[in-house]
Symmetry: C2
Subunit: 545 residues, 2 copies
């Protein structure tokens, strides 16, 4: 997808390392070093998850000077606040690795690495986006160089660099001579978390954003509100959380909280895409905004329950425009997720005002068109406030007319390949979530199922395949909160992360297993309680509880 | 089971509270107080899990003086180190509850409770046992009194007392006028944790023992070793962990660790029953004890793999006797679990030395008898070192001859009621685990299935029913370690805890749901990350990660 950029990168890397032939490290350098550590395959310590597009490693090793390691810019490099913040994070991470270790005795000396030189080839960017360039090249040799055409590639490359470190039995921290060219297969690699079915404390969200960065996930799809609660604090409509949150003081996300999450993501190259799902899934909205939901009727009179948002009154659209104007000012991403899933027509059918309105519009009985009227206006409002948008697949399945630039997310796990073929045949861009609903749990290694689902495996032309922007692992919140969200998400979501980042032919479960186990142990050492795959152990087990 | 004791208790309680009629609190006292808080049902804050056998509550409330609350002995009471340690724990717990709260404004004054008087009616005991008396009575009125015939009942009553506290919206801590008579339905209420498939750090085990006490679980069935690793450090045979642990320095339980766990359990009335599963499930044993496992043969020669323990050589029994002598000196409980499950005969069949030995014994081809020979000797050794024992059901299913006092644990989830009928018809005492294998996970509220399984529902005489000593919730370790063991165990194991403690007719899921949710939120406040049941929230969410 980013081959012309990578071609340039490759040329550049070869120029920098003119005296080396990546992949063909000479036996001489090995012998000269006299080091007997065998060639590292991907199953060896220091392997990278998700697997880079191109990597060659050599048995030659360097000792990482963990106590004093620093990142520096190349003289020709652009500079960027994002890069400098990342330098601090990864220097701390490398230092912390050292502080956990007790060097038992001094093994034979090997050359030391004290610096990674970073060459950022273009000007700093402020926010990650769908179109950001995440490619990078990384050379570990007598000197170490990370080059990338954009700051986002620098972030990805720093993560890779940190994963190349490994510890010997004597706790020496080593890194193999390595050459990497890397870029993502898909541009949108997301994780959905749901803060409505259960409130997720800030700590839980921030920790999982950190884990996303460790897995090169680049989108946090924040399903922030739903039927059960409305924790988003709107300055324009404070009653939404005031009456719709589980608790209006403690179970909310203030504008400051949201800004903190966006900034935390931005620093790690993670987009924060909020979902405000309508016209269904909006029961909690009705508590703070009277007249918004459709009153349901039984036996000719309102029965006290409410259905989807009422699409027939102007006040609905005035309200949504007000809310989305605020949302756009809070969430920086180009995209909003508008939901549109699981809209039941029963309440609309029961309501005489809706029936009357539909008769006036000459659409009596045609509830799909009624939904279409609503969605069309919501899309118009979203566009007018400056948003591009994503919708769940039913919007298309139900024949709702949408704009050509709509992104359709496929979630129903009944032949999602056929749905992708249908959606892309209509020319829409698509996201795949169906095979990766991590809230469904079962005994055993379900990560393999997630890992092996090939998203591009649907009937369609090359042009259709290009319309698949990526996918998302979804951990809906009915059965998770701060107590269990992190171990339930990791390393199961890591399987999806590699599927969406790495090459299509990286699909060997046997090869992946020890590498994924190593990655989960790495996450544990970094403070993420990633659950086990199968019987085994980590050198450093999780002890916090 | 403990009715005669309870009868005495009931008389005593009625004598102490001669001016009250439990269950018929007068309207006068309610009016006189002028308090409008409604009668608390079990679904209200301050409800107890597992549900007491007999409880009456009144709308009259007392304010718990959380900052200065103390426990004292009645003048006639026996004294005990266990009680005093428990006083400290629960005073701290009550104080910590207070420190989490910010009293928002002073509501109308109600009478204050500053003391719970404890009357221990018999001399202190040192270790919990199968035959311990856990009954107690608790009266909360103008004064508060906990009476119990043994220290174990005091521990259970203190837990109940701590659960009766609830907080108003203004964070006042209240307790309703309450009268409780309580005792367990089953004497053995266990949880199995497995420290072999994954090593469980000490912190994880101790935290879960704490949670067990919060659920009146009284047995920690410690499946300490298995095929995958041997973390138990034996002073007699140090190579067992030295070569059989995942890591002989970090992934082990030293004698000091084991003593700490036993003491931690003892203080909470929890027995620690170790399982040393043989002759199968013992691959890790063979690493540190050569000659113990049966060499398997292929094509007429040893193929390098090993099967179950070799039952035909004297060295096996010398070793087991040495090990069990040490185990008995370390683990104080009367019982050891000897395993005996899933013994494959294939390796024995392949081995010519085994075949020759069986011919000499005139049992050619009869591998069940071979197993029987082994088990019989293991039982004899266990008895000789002073142990009573528990075995998994196959030992009986395979027709192995065992001693009459053997306890049989039913784990195979294929008509466990028929197995219970069979085992008890043979006169053996039984434990039920089959319906409660918590390592099997599925999406949704599986706690209901655990909750509704009625253990006594098998064909048999009253005498047979009396042979069912209780049951165990088993969380095998293939897919859990310190990262996820606690939220996976709680509150799912709480469902089993109530099934085994409370009366048979306490089996209404609708009634139990809000009470269990309240209990999980209570566990969260006490530092146990118990996972959610369904969409909802806790006033204080889990924030540690």
């Amino acid at each position: 997808m980013q081959f012309h950029v990578l071609f340039c990168l490759a040329v550049m890397v070869l120029a920098v390392n003119a005296n080396r032939q990546p992949g063909q490290f000479s036996d001489d350098s090995y012998s000269a070093l006299g080091n007997e550590i065998p060639l590292l395959g991907d199953t060896s310590p220091g392997s990278v998850w998700p697997k880079p597009q191109m990597q060659t490693s050599s048995p030659m090793v360097y000792e990482v000077a963990v106590q004093k390691f620093v990142f520096t810019y190349a003289s020709t490099s652009h500079k960027c606040d994002l890069t400098e913040e990342a330098f601090k994070r990864y220097e701390m991470l490398i230092y912390n690795t050292a502080s956990q270790l007790k060097l038992q005795f001094r093994p034979r000396a090997v050359p030391s690495l004290t610096t990674l030189t970073v060459n950022l080839l273009s000007a700093c960017e402020e926010y990650p986006s769908l179109h950001m360039n995440e490619s990078y090249s990384l050379e570990i040799g007598d000197s170490a160089l990370l080059s990338a055409p954009s700051v986002w590639g620098v972030l990805r490359g720093l993560e890779t660099f940190s994963q190349l470190m490994w510890q010997t039995d004597t706790n020496q921290v080593l890194m193999n001579k390595t050459s990497i060219l890397d870029f993502p297969r898909y541009a949108h690699r997301g994780i959905l978390l749901d803060s409505s079915r259960h409130y997720l404390p800030m700590e839980a969200i921030l920790h999982n954003l950190e884990a996303m960065a460790y897995n090169k996930i680049n989108v946090f799809h924040w399903h922030i509100v739903d039927d059960q609660s409305f924790p988003f604090v709107s300055r324009t409509y404070p009653d939404l959380s005031g009456k719709g949150a589980y608790n209006p003081s403690t179970h909310i996300y203030t504008p400051e909280n949201v800004a903190e999450i966006i900034e935390f993501g931005r620093l790690r190259g993670i987009r924060v895409v909020p979902e405000f799902d309508t016209p269904g899934h909006s029961q909690s909205w009705g508590k703070g905004q009277s007249g918004l939901l459709t009153p349901c009727y039984s036996n000719g009179k309102p029965d006290g329950t409410f259905g989807p948002i009422d699409p027939t009154v102007n006040s609905t659209y005035t309200f949504v425009e007000g809310l989305f104007t605020e949302v756009k000012s809070v969430f920086h991403d180009q995209y909003i997720h508008l939901g549109g899933d699981e809209v039941s027509f029963n309440c609309w059918k029961s309501n005489p005002d809706i029936t009357k309105w539909m008769a006036l519009q000459n659409i009596t009985g045609d509830y799909a068109t009624l939904e279409s009227v609503y969605i069309q206006q919501i899309l118009d409002i979203s566009a007018s406030v400056g948003y591009s948008y994503i919708v769940w697949q039913e919007v298309i399945d139900n024949g709702v007319k949408v704009k050509n630039d709509t992104v359709v997310e496929v979630w129903i796990n009944n032949k999602p390949d056929e749905e992708l073929a249908k959606v892309t045949a209509k020319g829409y861009r698509a996201l795949l979530a169906a095979p990766w609903y991590l809230d469904y749990i079962s005994t055993g290694e379900d990560w393999q199922k997630y890992y092996l689902y090939e998203p591009s495996n649907f009937n369609g032309t090359d042009a259709q395949k290009q319309l698949l922007m990526g996918g998302e692992a979804c951990l809906w919140g009915e059965y998770v909160d701060g107590t269990n969200v992190t171990p339930r998400l990791w390393p199961r979501a890591s399987a999806v992360a590699e599927r969406l980042w790495s090459a299509e032919d990286v699909n060997d479960v046997e090869e992946a297993t020890p590498r994924l186990n190593q990655h989960r142990c790495r996450m544990i050492r970094r403070g993420i309680p990633a659950e086990p795959l199968r019987p085994g152990y980590c050198t450093h087990e999780w002890k916090n509880i």
